[in-house]
């Protein structure tokens, strides 16, 4: 072993000791789980809750489920309507989800057209008997109380389709249909306002500042703005 190698070895040993000592002075990464509840991320997929008042027994969830772990029984009831013909209505008899099979893909929640299924972040429902992992409708209904309110909208995000459609409808109603091309303009403008302005411009300007010569700027920028505007 040469002297240089020995020196290298010594620094390596010292660095190893330094790393462990530094780690010891820092806070441990341990989460004290059963004592301290974990801080789950938003939209955590813990358990599926059923809002059965919204369920129309359309069976979409059961059919789309990749594991076929949703069990639905129902029967039809005839509803007499005064002064009209009798209607038929689906009544839910059983709604069960087997969480021993469920792979938490969330497709049932995505496809439900009537917002009857929701994600709940509760995850402590382990059982000693696998059969007990099939949650029936009353238990699924109980999970509904643990469903958090939806998270707030991202202020930088695009407005929802519904908002854009409502703005369009308001424009149509307010303008009486007299403006030119009423179908396209308002929606476009709303999108433009929400996305283009904050997202693109500052970055553009910063890039401009970094690359271009300062002498060019005053002349260029108004021209650029003029070309952008009429869009």
């Amino acid at each position: 072993m040469t002297a240089a190698e020995a020196g290298l070895g010594a620094t390596g040993l010292a660095r190893g000791l330094a790393v462990t000592l530094r780690t010891m002075t820092r806070r441990a990464a341990t989460r004290q789980y059963p004592d301290v509840p974990p801080d789950l991320p938003p939209r955590s997929r813990g358990v599926i809750a059923l809002f059965e008042e919204n369920c129309t027994v359309c069976m979409l969830c059961a059919r789309e489920c990749p594991d076929w772990c949703i069990y639905i029984d129902s029967h039809k009831e005839t509803v007499e309507v005064a002064g009209g013909r009798a209607r038929q209505r689906n009544v839910l008899d059983r709604f069960g989800i087997d969480f021993a099979l469920c792979m938490y893909c969330g497709i049932c929640i995505e496809v439900c057209p009537f917002d009857a299924l929701f994600w709940s972040p509760e995850f402590e429902y382990a059982e000693y008997d696998m059969a007990d992992l099939t949650h029936e409708r009353d238990r699924l209904r109980e999970w509904m109380w643990t469903v958090p309110p939806p998270p707030a909208l991202d202020p930088a995000g695009q407005p929802a389709k519904e908002v854009a459609a409502a703005a369009k409808a308001a424009e149509v109603a307010g303008g009486g249909g007299a403006t030119e091309r009423p179908a396209e303009r308002p929606a476009d403008r709303a999108v433009e306002r929400a996305t283009e302005r904050p997202a693109e411009r500052p970055a553009d300007r910063a890039a401009e500042r970094a690359t271009e010569r300062p002498a060019d700027r005053p002349a260029d920028r108004p021209a650029e703005r003029a070309t952008e505007r009429p869009r």
Partner: protein
Amino acid sequence: MSDAVEIGAKAVSVLVAFLLLPLLVGQLEHKAMAHMQSRVGPMYAGGFHGWAQLLADGVKFVQKEAVTPVATDGPVYRLAPAVALLPYLLALVVIPLGPGVVAASLDVGLLFALAIAGIGVVGMLMAAWASANKYSLLGGLRGAAQLLAYELPLVLAAVSPAMAAGTLSLTGIIEAWRPWWLLWQAPAMVVFFVAGLAELRRPPFDMPVADSELVFGYLTEYSGLRFALFLLAEYAGIVVIAALTAVLFLGGWQGPFADQLGPVWTLAKVFALSFVVIWVRVAFPRLREDQLLRLAWLVLVPVALGQLVLTGVVAVAIA
């Protein structure tokens, strides 16, 4: 009559120290190692940060069945934990805690401590051979090679402060100790501490137990209380090596207000050195068998011999 009382009190206090200090070192290892790995270690036993974890472990080990495989060499197998453990108890007897606070102040205390600590090795070899297990035997042979290699630098390094102080009495060495010896005896201290670590088969010198390749080396067949005694022997060994290093090289009880705080200084030095033992365990990977022997014969022995020359020259120059 009063002699008997004094001897009894000393024996009891040595026994208490022998049972208490390894537990404290073990608890320190649990917590320090955990925090060095960004964990928190035991938190439940005893209520406050798992302070009673090792007591709980002891209770658990006592309750477990002590399995004795059919092929074992019965008496040797059963005797091995005691042979591994008792030498460290006896070594503690001669280690001075403070000025005048020592169970037995032998004139050849250093010789006694080194000789008696060497017997612990025999316990390991007994365990390895009597277990009738190939892993145990491999571990025992590795241990034998390692202890042959490291006993020499250990003793050579321990001779240096004895030469400097001109006595083999541990109390005498502490009384002759001066702070500048820290620099003078530094190479010997490093050699003694490293060789001591190897003697204890502590990581990074844990080739004989190497749990990832030899199951648990010579401890493979042990369970229940006998296994616990081997573990206790390991921690008692840490205490003894740390105490010997503190006494030989760090001045034992010496420090500010040594007359009143002597034992506190000794214990502080022992625990600081025990912490280093744990720290080294966490930081470094296990040495390979050839690296292990290279380090002993090509680095530690020459350094220890050089230190002896240096000590001799300086001692003569002073005198």
